[in-house]
Structure formats: C-alpha cells, structure tokens
C-alpha cells in the first residue's frame, strides 16, 4: 500500500471538501478500497474517512419517500424491520452478500459505488481499459464470470447485489458536493462504460453519496430478489435478479425487472416487464418473461452458462414475488 494522508470527516460537507482533491479517495467501510490499495490498482494520496459520521437517522420513512442514510451497513439493511417489510428484495440482497464481518463494515453507499470485481481489473499486472489501457483482457480471456450483455468495450459486471434490488424499486441517489449536491435516479447514476470505461458512476471529484431514496412502498407491490452463487458462503453472484410486481390478485399490473451480474450496470429488462404486465403470473408466464429478458444476450466464450442462470434467477424471483 502506498503512503497516504488520512482525514476523518465529521460530516459529508467536510468530506466533500476534503475529497475534492483529484488524488483523494473516500473511505466508508473500506472493504473494497483497501483491497485495491493493497494491490496498488488504486494509490490515493489522500484518504477521507467517512465511517465516523454518525447518521441522525439511519432510515426515514415518509409518505413521499423512504430515505436510507448512505452509511447504513449491509447488516442493518438485512435486519431492519422496515426494510424487510417494505423492501424485502433489498433486505435479501444485503443479507446474501459477502460475510457477516463484511456486512457489519460495508455501507450501502459504498456497496453501490464499489468497483467491479473483474479479476483483470483487480490485478496490478493488467493495464485494462477500466484502468485507462487499450484492452479488455476478459473479452478474449478468462471470462467465465463476466458480462453477457454490453460486453464491449469492457466486459465487467456490476458487483453490487443491493444495486440490483435498488434499481428494481426505482431508487434515487442523493449526493453532496462542494458546488452543491444532486438527486439522480440510480439507473442514470450508474453508467455503462461506453463513454468512459474508467468510471462506473457519474460521481465527480468531491461528490459524496449521502443517501439513497426509495419511492414509498406501493400497496400492491410485491418484490423479491434471487441470487445464484456458486459457493453459499461469501461469493459474488453468478447471476441475480430483482423484481417488483404490482399485483391485483394473481394478475400483474405493472413490473420492474432487473438483472444483476450480467452487464456493467444492473440491467432493466423492459421486454420482460411487458411480458408480465397484465398477465396472471404462473410458471409459464415467468419462463416467457425470463426468455424475453435474455433473448438478446451476447455471452462470451466461457460464460454461456450465465444466460441459463440469469433466466433461472429471474423466473424464481418473479414466482417468489408473485407468491
């Protein structure tokens, strides 16, 4: 790890000011950043700690929105009764991530902003596109865990399970920055690598995620999250899916369908949503929707099996949500 200076911020505004330096990095739980610093894929000269900021409220439930403080831990999300009741897919996504120790440290904001787990990106030895290089080593290489959609110019997948769930609920990201903060829908906050493969979000220098806002729970909403992982202890999803269905008896009135671990961002699947809307949900409808969701997948040489897994994850999530 390269030497760095460290400041512990007492509030987000201070953190934003401190982090405005181009060589600064923000450290919340540190479960992602420190790994990258040890491997020297990241060498920030100035570290701004925000894990000491004490949330006044971890969760605020209002009629207009539910606001989650960015520093709530995954363990909190997995256990909080309000999250479990109103946003079960989010609770499930948090509960199935990493290990108890990491869930106790990892924050919601950090989880959404964590960098891809592509093994080429994570190794110092590879100067890949995400690090400003000219190659995506995964595209022709060991791509068994990589994208099956949007495989170019960078075939990484978004690693965050909570982001998959949050996108299904239509979450918004709240930030603060020296020049003023903003509220951006998550599906615009996370970006495909097309324009700039070196970033996954629209965050600017000095911009800090302070909260995630969720629309208030819809009375007819039923939601579910399914993660398929090879190991049952501490493993990244091979595929995951989150769905929010507005149900009227057995009939789905409206659906939001998101696949995770299949593309550089969690992926809304509008065709699958159309395949569900207005239909009575059963195994065959779920299967048709899953087929629709994966119809335009473009798997790489070693990850064709992920198409199957993503279908299964989605089918199971639809059926679980529909009850």
């Amino acid at each position: 790890m390269k030497a760095f200076t460290f400041v512990e911020a007492s509030d987000f505004e201070t953190a934003a000011r401190e982090a405005a330096r181009p060589d600064a990095a923000i450290k919340a739980g540190g479960t992602d950043l420190l790994d990258r610093m040890k491997e020297r894929t990241d060498e920030p000269a100035h570290l701004v700690g925000i894990s000491g900021i004490v949330p006044r409220e971890k969760i605020r439930v209002e009629s207009s929105a539910t606001t989650l403080h960015a520093l709530v831990t995954l363990a909190f999300l997995a256990e909080d009764p309000a999250v479990r009741r109103h946003y079960p897919a989010l609770a499930e996504a948090a509960a199935g991530a990493a290990t108890p120790q990491i869930r106790n440290m990892a924050t919601l904001g950090g989880n959404v902003c964590q960098r891809p787990r592509c093994w080429y990106f994570r190794l110092e030895d590879y100067e890949c596109r995400k690090k400003g290089g000219v190659d995506c080593f995964a595209f022709h290489g060991e791509n068994q865990f990589h994208a099956i959609f949007h495989t170019e110019p960078c075939a990484c997948v978004h690693p965050s399970a909570t982001a998959t769930a949050l996108m299904a609920y239509g979450a918004t990201v709240v930030t603060t920055a020296p020049g003023g903060g903003r509220e951006v829908p998550l599906d615009q906050f996370l970006v495909l690598p097309d324009a700039d493969p070196t970033v996954e979000t629209i965050l600017k220098n000095g911009e800090v995620v302070t909260a995630i806002k969720l629309p208030p729970p819809h009375p007819a909403a039923k939601s579910a999250y399914v993660k398929i992982k090879h190991k049952q202890t501490f493993d990244w999803p091979l595929a995951d899916a989150a769905v929010v269905l507005h149900m009227d008896g057995r009939t789905c009135r409206q659906a939001r369908v998101v696949l995770g671990a299949v593309a550089p961002v969690p992926l809304r699947r509008p065709k699958a949503e159309e395949a569900l809307a207005g239909r009575a949900i059963d195994a065959s409808v779920a299967r048709q929707a899953a087929e629709q969701a994966l119809a335009d997948a473009t798997p790489l040489a070693k990850n064709g099996y992920k198409v199957t897994l993503a279908k299964v994850a989605l089918e199971r999530a639809i059926l679980a949500a529909a009850g």
């Binding site: 030895d125 992982k229 190991k231 070693k302």
Partner: protein, 758 residues
C-alpha cells in the same frame, strides 16, 4: 532382539504373529489392553492458546529491530533477466539491505518468480523499495496450458536437456530426471502387469473416458515465511514449516554455515499440506537479508505471492479404459495420464488405480508436462485425489453398465478385508440401501444422489526420531522431542502416548516440541508423523519408567505403573503411589532418550485403507451442488486421540469438498498470469458449503511399530472428491468427468446427456 508373539488384525479378523522386537523396545500394545488415556476424546493441549490468540505463530514473531523483507517478482511468464540494478532500492527510505535472487542471464520461467529482495524498517517501505528496483527482461514465448504445452510447436519451458527442478524434504515423486523428455513432455513413467490387450479382447464390458482435474493450491492460512536472526555466526529461524530439521539443513547449506550454528523454531503452525518442508526461496533470502542488514528480518509471503509461488497440486487429464466380466470381475485397467506441476514434475496419478482393486492386467503411462507456471509441491496425498476421482468414476460406470450396485461391485473387486469391512460400516451408517429411493424422492429441479469411493495410502513411518522423557521427583514427567505441531494435534499426541506408557494422567505430562535444539523429530508429511514419532516417545517413556521404578526399589520386569500407581504387573494389584515412589529419585529425576526402532519385519504388512460416502443435492436448473452429508470411514492403527483424529478427518473432507466443487487456479492463457491469486476469486469452501461429516474409525492392529499407529492426514482427503462426483453423477443421471463441479460443468453434463438421449 527378542521374539514376541502378538495378535494382529481388526474387528473379528485376528491372527497371531511372531515378530522380532528390538532390545530396549516394548512390544506393541495388546489389542486386549484397556487404554487409560489413548483412544479417548481429548481436547488439544494448545486449543485455548490458539482460540484466545495467545499462541504466537511464526508469522506473529516480532523481534526488537526487526526488518521486513519483500521480493521483487518477475511479471513475465518466461523471460531472461538481462540486468538488475538494486541501487535505487538501497536509496529508498528505511531500506537496510537489498539482494539479487536471480542473476542477470538467468532464465525466469513463471510469472511470480523471485528476482530480488529488500529489507526495510516497515513493510510499506520494503514494498516501495521493491518498486524502485530497476530490472530489465528479455521476454520469451511461453505456454501455461496443459494441452497446448504438449503440442510440438509449443515454446519450451526448459530449453536445455537437463530439467532444473528442485527437490526438498517431503516431496514425493519429483520429476524423474532419467525419464525421456520430448518438448515439454517428460515420461512415460510406465508400469505393466499381465496382458492388458488380451484382457480387453476377452472382457464383456468395456468403458473408456477422459477425466480432468484442476490445479489446487495449498491455501495455508499462515503463509510461507520465516523470521531470521543472526547473533554472530549463529542463526535462529522462526519458520512456518512442516520440517524444522529439513529447514535447518537447507538454510545451513544455502547460507554456508554449519548445521550446528542454525536453530529452527516452530512453536505453532498454520497449515502446510505438504508445501512447507524446505527453507524456501523466502527463507534463504531472509537469511541473506538479515546478514547484510545486521538485523533480524521477517519475510512472509502475502496471499498473492502464496498463490503464485508456494506450491500446488498438479492438474490432470486422465484417460482410463477398464474392462470387466459379466459377473462383475474387473479384468483390465489402462491409464494414460498427463498433468502439469508448472516448472516442476510430480503429476502422476496412478496410485489408486494400481493399489485399490484386484485386477490382473494393468497398464499405466504417466507424463509430466512442463508449463510456465508456479512449481507444484507435495500436496496432501500427491496424485491420489485426482487419481481416485478418475478411477472411482470408472468403477461406477462399469458397475452401471453391468447393472450392478456400485457398492456390490466394489465389494467384489476389493482384495482388502479391512476396506471391505469399512465399506460395510460406512454403507450401514450412511444408509446406502436408501440410494435409489433417495434419487426417486427428488422433487422439482433439485435431484438427490449418493456416491462412494475408496482410498489407499501406504506409509507406516520409519526410523530417525529420538525423544527424551524425564520423570521428576514429584512424579511429573516431561517429553522433549523436536517435532513441529503443524496444526494436526501432534503436541497432544506426544503427551498422550507418554502418559499412557508412564501410567500418568495427561496433566502430569509436559511436552516440549518445535525446536531443533531438541532431539530429532521427523518432518510432518506423508501421514508418517505419528507412526514415526510415537514409537520413539513410547520407548523413551518406557525406559524412563523402568529407571524410575528401579530407583524407587521396584523390579521393572515385574512391576508397572497404571493410573498413577505402581502395580504388580501380573495381578494388576496397586503397590504404591507412583508420586510417592518418585520421591526416591535423585534431584535431577531420571531421564531416558530413545531412538525409534525399525519397523517390525514380520508384522502384518498392509496398506492404509478408507472409504467415504457422500450425499448431494443438485439443482439441475442452476447446476449448483450442495453436499449434504459425508460418512468417512478410516483406519490408522490404534487411535491415539479420537477427537483429534475425527477433527483431522473433518479437515480432510472439507478440503476435499472444496477441491470437488470450488478450488481452481485459473491462468490467463494469453498473458500467462494467474487471475485469481487470492482467496476471493480462488474459491475455498466456507461454513455453509461444508456438509454434515461423520467420521468412523476402524482400529487395526498390525504390529508394525510399538504403538501400532499409522497416519490419517492424507487418507482423509483422498476419496472425498471422487465420492461427491459419483453422487452428483447419480443424482443427475449424467457422468461428471471433471472437477471442480461448477454450475457450468453440471449444466454441460446435463445437456450432453439430453443430446445423447434424443
């Protein structure tokens, strides 16, 4: 020498044998002996220290003024080092020493090979300094793939005719330099028994298939490394090792000092699995850096270095053809095996095939293929888990083709009465008779299945170890023995064996191990530790006890000590308290140092057996396998500590589950780098992946040594992956022909089976 008639055997198979016992060595314990401390469930003596964090492992050693060493490693899979400039590193903050490990002109043969090393006041300074070294390379063509390396056009890993592989103590079956080499392919190491071709022409059923296994790394939780300290010309090394004496030997040789000036200490150790016998490039570098800096140097690998350079189990591609008669008699086996240990050999897999089942016609051809990858090293039963996987899948397939139950097929062809008994015990406990009912009970996409596999192992220990037992005037005793406890519970074993022989409760016996200043102890490998050490310990305790009895005025030929009392040996009647009797000992107590005697020539010569049964659930939509249960039946002579034994079997099964389902060193073929050099992307089974494990022990008395012990470390992991793979094949009705059994492998097997059916 004296002739003794002893009973050997197991369960209800007993046979009298007459063996020659060395003078001054007790005869093996009688199977009728009711042990006072052996064969019980005793918590390990160092458990509280380990659980509380009080135990100081070598990696935890902190010395005043200690520096931190770090390597510069080649990032080229093949290159010639053309120049090396250490001066920029020497000018970096905190740097006290910098050394070349490879000299300019040296060929470098894998990404991660050591080039130079530095020592600095902090780990961070050492890391910065390594980055300041200016090394220039001339990159060469390379090959990392087992199959591509066999092509005639493949780049040569070793250009010269001579293959420079290094052997260290404990390594087994290294690249045999007398074997022919063509390109990167060395071999065959061949064997032939009977007439295989004729047997195949007369067989009623023949199966033939190619099996693949992956490279597994040892993944020791305590990485490889040492702390080295010079005091004048004397060197003390705190090593994480399975062999303090072999480390001493190699350090002395590499650093040009007499062995007598080198002391190696391993108080607690965090896993070796076969990879930690030698001084290692790290150990020698630490010694050199410490000498140059004039300060102690700690050099432990980080996890990435550990994965790249600290050893691995070679992969394999095994083609097996097997033939049987209609009645289920196995008549022919043919194995052609290729594997790569990177820049090392040791990829043979024929052990199980040649040594488990009765088969009159057997041909084996094994090849080591060199690739530009980190060197293999001995790993927990070298060659066996991979060989067992392929052999036992073949046995299941033969049974299936014959319409026989795999259990019956094995009972018919297994010549070992011990293992047949273990098959029975295991099948009974496991509920093998429910096998077809279980498969039919599968609901929805989740299919259930059962599989079994057999194992074989060989080593029975040998001479070399010495131990000293001292009995004090207060009736307490201490055992001093230069054996390292590598986490397997050997420290507790030493105490138990001495306590049993001395007739003392365990808490009256103190154990000192893990130091080359103590009498010689063996390397902990080959499952030979207990059978090598325990006879020396028992002999020393026996000798000390006789001396103490004599000094206390009892005839040691007619008296013994049991449960703290001096007894009349014939009647068992207590005569006096041993503690009181010891008051008559001289102030220094009595000591006895003993060598381990030779193995008894006329003992029951046998292999170590074992069998495991696995029950799995397979989600046929996702290909995810969950191992629900493993019943592991093993024999290792007389159980010294049932708790430790069961614990070690659990460890073997867990490592086997991890091997069967997850672990896979992945190399990028285009760049020659390992892409998962950590324990995140290199997947290791965690708590939720571990099945319910039931260990069963079949005590066997073979009379080979005075404690009737053999080892368990390796046998416990040999059949696990094979049993799991057979269970998965049973569950899904399609043959699993490769490990790890990933979702992709399961889904591909199912899809192949569907195509074959349609």
């Amino acid at each position: 020498m004296s002739k003794e008639t002893i009973e050997t055997g197991f369960d209800d198979h007993w046979e009298k044998r007459t063996i020659e016992v060395a003078s001054g060595d007790p005869a093996p314990w009688s199977p009728k002996r009711r042990f006072d401390v052996l064969g019980k469930r005793v918590p390990r003596l160092d458990g509280p220290a380990k659980a509380s964090g009080a135990a100081v492992y070598s990696i935890d050693v902190r010395l005043p003024g200690m520096l931190h060493g770090r390597f510069l490693r080649s990032s080229y899979p093949a290159a010639t080092l053309t120049s090396l400039d250490l001066e920029p590193a020497r000018r970096m903050p905190g740097v006290k020493a910098a050394i070349a490990v490879a000299q300019p002109g040296t060929p470098l043969r894998f990404a991660g090979q050591e080039v130079a090393a530095v020592a600095a006041d902090t780990p961070e300074h050492a890391e910065d300094a390594v980055r300041a070294i200016v090394a220039k390379y001339d990159p060469k063509p390379f090959v990392v793939d087992l199959e591509k390396a066999q092509e005639p056009s493949a780049p040569l890993v070793f250009e010269a005719t001579r293959v420079e592989t290094k052997t260290t103590a404990g390594d087994i079956q290294r690249g045999n330099r007398s074997l022919p080499r063509k390109g990167n392919v060395m071999g065959p190491r061949a064997s032939n028994k009977g007439d295989v071709d004729k047997a195949f022409s007369e067989a009623d059923v023949i199966v033939e298939r190619t099996y693949r296994t992956q490279v597994q790394t040892h993944t020791c939780l305590e990485t490889h490394g040492v702390v080295a300290r010079w005091q004048g010309d004397e060197l003390t090394v705190w090593a994480s090792t399975q062999g303090i004496f072999s480390v001493r030997e190699e350090m002395a040789e590499a650093l040009g000092v007499p062995k007598s000036k080198v002391r190696v200490i391993t108080e607690y150790m965090g896993g070796g699995f076969g990879s930690k016998f030698g001084a290692g490039v790290y150990g020698v570098a630490a010694g050199r850096l410490a000498r140059e800096a004039g300060a102690p140097v700690k050099l432990f690998l980080d996890r990435k270095e550990e994965q790249l350079s600290a050893g691995n189990r070679p992969n394999s591609i095994q083609w097996i053809k097997a033939g049987a008669k209609k009645d289920g008699t196995l008549v022919a086996l043919h194995l052609i095996s290729h594997g790569t240990g990177g820049v090392n050999g040791g990829a043979g897999t024929s052990g199980p095939l040649k040594n488990i089942y009765e088969c009159p016609n057997v041909r084996t051809e094994e090849y080591d293929v060199f690739t530009n990858a980190g060197p293999s090293s001995a790993m927990r039963a070298p060659g066996h888990p991979q060989g067992c996987f392929a052999l036992e899948a073949t046995m299941d397939e033969l049974a299936e083709r014959l319409g026989m139950d795999p259990y019956q097929f094995r009972m018919k062809n297994d010549p070992s009465p011990v293992r047949r008994k273990e098959f029975e015990m295991g099948a009974d406990k496991f509920g093998w008779s429910r096998r077809e009912a279980l498969r039919k009970s599968s609901d929805g996409p989740v299919k259930r299945g059962m599989g079994m596999a057999a194992s074989v192992w060989y080593n029975t220990g040998g001479t070399g170890p010495k131990a000293t037992v001292t009995i004090h005037r207060d009736g307490s005793a201490e055992v001093v023995h230069g054996l390292q406890d590598i986490g397997t519970g050997t420290r507790t074993m030493v105490a138990l064996v001495a306590a049993e022989e001395l007739g003392l409760p365990l808490e009256r016996v103190t154990v000192k191990v893990g130091d080359t200043d103590y009498p010689y102890g063996p390397g902990s490998g080959g499952s030979t530790t207990t059978p090598s050490s325990s006879p020396a310990i028992r002999r020393a305790a026996w000798g000390a006890k006789r001396r103490a009895l004599e000094q206390a005025g009892f005839n040691p030929d007619t008296h013994d000590v049991r449960r703290g009392s001096v007894i009349d040996a014939a009647s068992g009647r207590p005569m006096a308290s041993f503690e009181q009797a010891c008051h008559k000992l001289p102030a220094e107590g009595v000591s006895f140092t003993a060598d381990r005697a030779d193995n008894h020539e006329d003992a029951w010569k046998r292999f170590i057996n074992g069998t495991q049964f696995a029950e799995v659930e397979v989600d046929t939509e996702t290909g995810i396998v969950s191992v629900k249960r493993v019943v592991a039946v093993h024999d290792c002579g007389v159980p010294i500590n049932l708790l430790g034994l069961e614990s070690q079997i659990h460890g073997g099964v867990i490592q086997g589950v991890s091997y069967a389902l997850f672990e896979d060193r992945t190399l990028d073929v285009a760049t020659g780098h390992m892409v998962n050099p950590n324990i995140d992307f290199y997947k290791v089974a965690g708590a939720l992946d571990v099945p319910e494990i039931e260990a069963m022990i079949l005590p066997v008395y073979d009379g080979v040594n005075n404690t009737d012990t053999t080892g368990i470390g390796e046998p416990a992991t040999v059949p696990t992956a094979a049993a799991i793979a057979n269970a998965v094949s049973h569950a899904i009705g399609a043959r699993i022909d490769q490990i790890p059994i990933t979702p992709h492998v399961v889904l591909a097997a199912l899809s192949r089976a569907r195509e074959e059916r349609s």
